[in-house]
Symmetry: D2
Subunit: 472 residues, 4 copies
């Protein structure tokens, strides 16, 4: 029989050697319960697997094991139902659950922590959480991809100006433009998958830092929890947060992509561009200007990229120069992680909705593609194909553009004679070569904007996304 | 009489031109109420001043003004008492307050928004908030300064090794070391003060972006709210978040300083250093290792520096390349700001408590200062003072140290004869010159570690902090 | 006479106790000479002041002092002329200069380092450098301000759409828009000035960390070098890099402002906006698209903001959790600082040139301001001024806009009768109230866009910049 | 025959439509030649493959193709020998090489740019560079791993205190501690490998943004250059810098790991810890304190982590909200990348050297492991194994530690009777169970610190690194 545990100490998983209570401000400062309670399902899943293993190994009796598992299952249901009242004076979710278990099943709850430490326990919870978050986010990425691909499918014929330097450059298909984001998002999925693979390592069994003295079965626990690997070094396992940094970096790239897409939504829905009309369900108004219809959701996605970059930086700075193994600084791993998951999730959902409902102004796009000199490269290629070194062809067409511009004409409005004043290589077919249709069709290279190429990429994307072959 | 306002639209300050409701996910995504409700006092203060001004200028009647002001005061009391139920479907704190006011005082509430916009209103709220936060934090900085100065006062005679490269370098007084942090914190206070000066500019009256068409009195509002200046350009005023970036940068430096102090707490309370014993109220234990007494509060302060750096980066990234004037990206200014204020506040409080209760192991410090060769510079200075170029003196003493080290002796344990083998300039007083007391006393330069200098700096610090002359 | 200094050791200011040479890779890794040679003028200025002080105090003879000063002056001239060959094997600029001095004036050079250390020396150099850099940058900021104010002066009558959410919001004067940047840049100047004040503290005399044993005169050195203050704590003085972080933060805000301005250049010079035509001297072309005229300088300014933010983060991360006093990590303070100065300088110069030469398309701006419903707020204010609560007025005009939009009309194209269908408060003067001129003129509040207000702000700006009253 | 190209325009690959020269300051601001000349080998390799393909496809004649290839090979040799004088007025490395080629082989050089653009060319160069850099860095990572594993092998028996919170926690083997870094570095290698896979995509053929009108063979070029994939979307391919961000993120984690290792070098080589003695080739001295032997290389590695984090942030901020496709902001991708490669490379080399030469003070480590109460967990496990719930066992041992501490005794110095005063479960074997050897041996779990486990991990590491089975 152990000595009595004094009242105030019951709120902690330690205290035997302490003569004095923790300062109230310290308790509030160090408690992670306000945010790590979000991990309750992961924590309980880990404890159930641990308890089963302890019983299997005979470290606790099977009756004890059952009592613990049943107690944990009941607790989880209570929490799922939102009926569990978390005591704000507790240190963390592990403490909250262990003490609640003790209240419900008595002293035997004290056997659950045999052969483990909060250091390997929290590492376990976080790895379970990150794996789950990645599964959820990759699903949402596909949701946005489907919305983009669906819109692309409706616009395989829509010609718009392709931009470099935010200046009209060459005509492209809108579908081609939208599929560029499909490529980015596919890389994001792949990158998150790589991160998931590195998160998929069971740390439990590393104890506080050095392993445990009990005859545990780590492979059993790994199987129970669905981990592909078991960690190889206990000191590393309790202080490794690489998988969180890697997740934040991958999430930062997702947000970088979404911020680019959002920027285009903002630009394209200005009256100056006039390419898109947002559905009113995806726009907001002004408290003072009655005419306003603002692309707030897109602006917020764009702005929120900064927040995720900040979480990445914060985590890296926190890890810097920490000696092994666990230090309390590592508690800072959670809030930025949770907020990142929430931010990426909401941004993906909102953009998927936005692109499922947006109206494209195809005539405006086409008009913009035709204005100006977007097919000048085609004129230079025309000359180069007739034997002129490209560098000279470029020079000549530059002068041609200047000539046309000074006369306020488009290239296509110049007469053949005018063309030939600059090079005798120009023939009658030059006007045809400079239409936006011809320009787009001519880029018939793998990855290029020619309709056939884009259609093939679109089919590929649909296959990857499991979309029906005939339409979105 | 205006047309009926439909049920669902009541939840917004706009909607007349919208044929369609906002998507639910968009509402959740764009709503700032979950965090900006923290600004309710600032928002109400601004509205009261605005209403008074509208009445004074005759833009609304004085009866209307009174009704609005009384309604707002009542609302604030309700919120202060925690009795106000915020509707999570509202867009922001401004909407929540205006609608609640309308419920309480009727249609006249709709006159409050005359001559202003949420764009200048939120800028106002944030400036009021930042000014208040700075006032609070500078008070807490002084609290930590007092704790450090109090400890310094108790240790004006305590000699410890001064470190460079975390290697013992020269003996210094503990008081001198502690007062180095006083200097850092004083700069922090000054820097926050400069930031406050730049935040102290009334933006109200800038309208949505271009000013207002009503005959408002901005100076009156500024006086009511205690602003020193009135903004000079409306486009700038509604899109300027410089004061937040500047605050986050100043807070980052505070946290950088606190992280350095925390690092020393961690190091000095290791058994290897053994310089400090933390009060148990400022330490925590382990769930598995019963002997542990960990410096968690200091570790967390150190770790939390990263989070504040992250908020700074996030805000800068969000502002980058935003065209004028207000864009919704700016809504991202709040959460990082609030979290920074909370983090800096708690870190200052915890460290003040820690330093008010920590025990210094002065004998261990002195022992460490005497071991090794911490007074070797004094030997070189000794030679230089006797005419040898310092560069040669340095070289000779380097060889002397190597000689002593190879024999396992301290410098002071070498005989005069041994000293003279390296330079004939050494005399009998060399042993005295190499004591830690002599070393410390010799650095009698402004800013140096000689007891008189340190005592003078200490007095100065106490005067600045308003501490009694005789003791802490 | 000191012992012989061996050949290889001559390359360092230390080595007496070392039995072994530094590894070559370590030498290359730790040497700062490749970048800190940029500080040679600051280093020599500091050494001259230090030598004069040593002589004045009798620590060295006046002949020695003169020899040292003359040697340093000659060395500086050699370096100014680019004739000094830096030996890449030396540790830093301090070593390079001290060894070069010894070569030129012999053993007496070895007395220069009396009473100082590289730790206070490098802190001195950096403070001198930052002060100089701030002086230069504030001059360049004024250069850009003059270009903007000059352009504003030419466009006090030019009406353009003011934007919120990158959507047309209310008409404003182009001059008003440009002066918003004047406000930002003035804050930048002020902020840099505050930073300069905190950098203006002499650290020399702090020695390696604890002060010095020599009877130095720090005030004399401060006066010689033009410092306003002398540092108060030696431990702090050698490890304080706050002024660098503060400079980087201020520079980050400058770049944030320039990135916003650059974004507008990019947007406004698209054919879609068509507000600006860049001078060809401030645009570049494409290697493949002959028609291209790209706003590359603006894009680069926008992009370079990221680099400066990165330097700020890097410095904060480097400082985090460094125990006192000097650690070699601090050597990382220089490259980011230098690059920031170069980046901000070039960005300011390029934008000043761009705005001095850009052509404004005033008719396009005016056309854009007239299209759409940019004066809808004026309609709401019209009703509110006639007694309707603003909230109801807003609702009514929202419906009016929707009505007009459905008929493809501008507000001004509605008949009075149509107006009155929505509110009987509309009178004949409503059409006049909705012109862009009336809208701009009505915002006649301090900080607003009414011509008189803008003109007054413009005069103020010109006075601040010392520009002639009559024109740019 | 093409029109004459005017003198000044020769310095650019464009200019036909320009009536005016680029401003000098703009030229200096926009030129990337000062840093992208580092890519000359990648650029020439790409051009050779492109020229071969053009000839193979009959787009240029085989004679032309040969002339171009031979010219490029000669140029590369000239550059390899350092004999090529780069003209600082040129825009970039692509221009420098194309113009130099034209000087050497005449007009035919102008055909090289057929069917490509600088946009896909620079993307190609960067991908080749990143792939090469990753190959080099993974080799250097292995170099450091070998140094650590070699030291581990010499210390499989060395017992030291394992730390949590920088407080002694439980005894571990030094080899176990060193192998924790092996795990981190292996993850780094894997992560860089994943990044390499995503960089291994040929962008050439994407043209400026839309593909090309020439009948090119992208697969041929991919094979020539050793690329595993060909990009699928031209708009994405010219504006995708994900692989650089991903590389910087992976490099940031490498530096985070190295900073942790460096921190331990700094701590462990203090006299307070006394665990390591640095070889003098890997330490530096002080210009003023003759006794100093500072761990500068480790400090610099620690400090340089900040710089790499900064480059990562800078790149993310630069990418944020850039509309498609190429914008000049992307030029900012290079300097941070190059500096990161250099920094990581040098840091790995220096630490590998440091760990190959450092001396371990094994007795000091063992002494530290034995002092204090590092085996208290073993006492609690002892009780738990005898049936006491772990939570109670922890509580009892906590009180035991407190009891011993108050008497100034180690746990092992308590008599059996004293032990039994706290629990009757203690038996005679308790003293044996509390030795550091027993403690280490008891953690015989996969990943734990028991000698057999560590030996097995060590053999595995050696096998992975290709080190001989018998020794380092």
């Amino acid at each position: 029989m152990g000595p009595a545990v004094s009242g105030t100490r019951k709120a902690k998983l330690w205290g035997g050697r302490f003569r004095q209570d923790t300062a109230k401000s310290v308790l509030a400062f160090t408690s992670s319960l306000p945010f790590d309670r979000r991990l309750y399902r992961e924590d309980i899943a880990g404890s159930i697997a641990h308890a089963r293993m302890l019983a299997k190994q005979g470290i606790i009796s099977s009756t004890e094991g059952e009592a613990i598992v049943n107690g944990l299952v009941a607790l989880r249901e209570e929490m799922d139902r939102g009926q569990f009242a978390f005591d704000p004076h507790l240190e963390d979710i592990h403490t909250a659950i262990e003490l609640a278990l003790a209240e419900r099943i008595g002293e035997v709850a004290g056997k659950l922590h045999t052969g483990r430490s909060r250091n390997d326990q929290v590492a376990l919870d976080l790895r379970l959480y990150v794996k789950g978050a990645i599964d959820q986010l990759t699903g949402l990425i596909q949701g946005l991809e489907r919305a983009l691909v669906g819109l692309a499918e409706a616009h395989v014929q829509t010609i718009m100006p392709g931009y470099t330097h935010t200046q009209r450059a060459q005509p492209v298909l809108l579908a081609h433009h939208l599929l560029a984001y499909f490529e980015m998002l596919e890389r994001d999925r792949e990158r998150l998958g790589d991160c998931r693979r590195r998160a998929d390592v069971l740390p439990l069994g590393s104890g506080a830092l050095a392993g445990t003295t009990f005859n545990i079965d780590r492979d059993f626990v790994a199987r129970e929890l669905g981990f592909g690997q078991v960690s190889r070094n206990s000191l590393d396992a309790v202080s490794d947060r690489d998988f969180i940094v890697e997740f934040l970096a991958a999430a930062s790239l997702v947000m970088a992509h979404l911020s680019r897409l959002a920027e285009e939504v903002v630009l394209w829905s200005t009256p100056e561009f006039g390419f898109l009309t947002l559905d009113q369900a995806y726009a907001t108004g002004s408290s003072i200007m009655p005419q306003k219809l603002n692309p707030d959701p897109a602006e917020l996605v764009r702005g929120k990229a900064g927040r995720v970059f900040g979480h990445l930086v914060g985590m890296l700075a926190t890890l810097k120069a920490l000696p092994l193994s666990y230090s309390r600084d590592l508690q800072e791993d959670k809030e930025g992680l949770f907020d990142t998951v929430d931010t990426v999730q909401a941004s993906l959902e909102v953009l998927a909705g936005l692109f499922s409902t947006v109206k494209v102004n195809a005539p405006a796009m086409r008009r913009a593609a035709q204005e100006g000199y977007a097919t000048a490269t085609d004129a230079a290629d025309y000359l180069a194909r007739r034997g002129l070194p490209f560098r000279q062809a470029h020079e000549i067409v530059g002068q041609l553009v200047r000539y046309a511009e000074e006369r306020g004409k488009a290239l296509a409005e110049l007469s053949l004679e005018e063309f030939r004043r600059f090079s005798a290589l120009f023939r009658e077919d030059i006007h045809q070569a400079l239409t936006v249709e011809a320009s787009v069709a001519a880029r018939d290279v793998y990855g290029g904007t020619a309709p056939g190429q884009v259609q093939a990429r679109l089919e590929e994307a649909k296959r990857i996304l499991g979309m029906p072959a005939d339409g979105p």
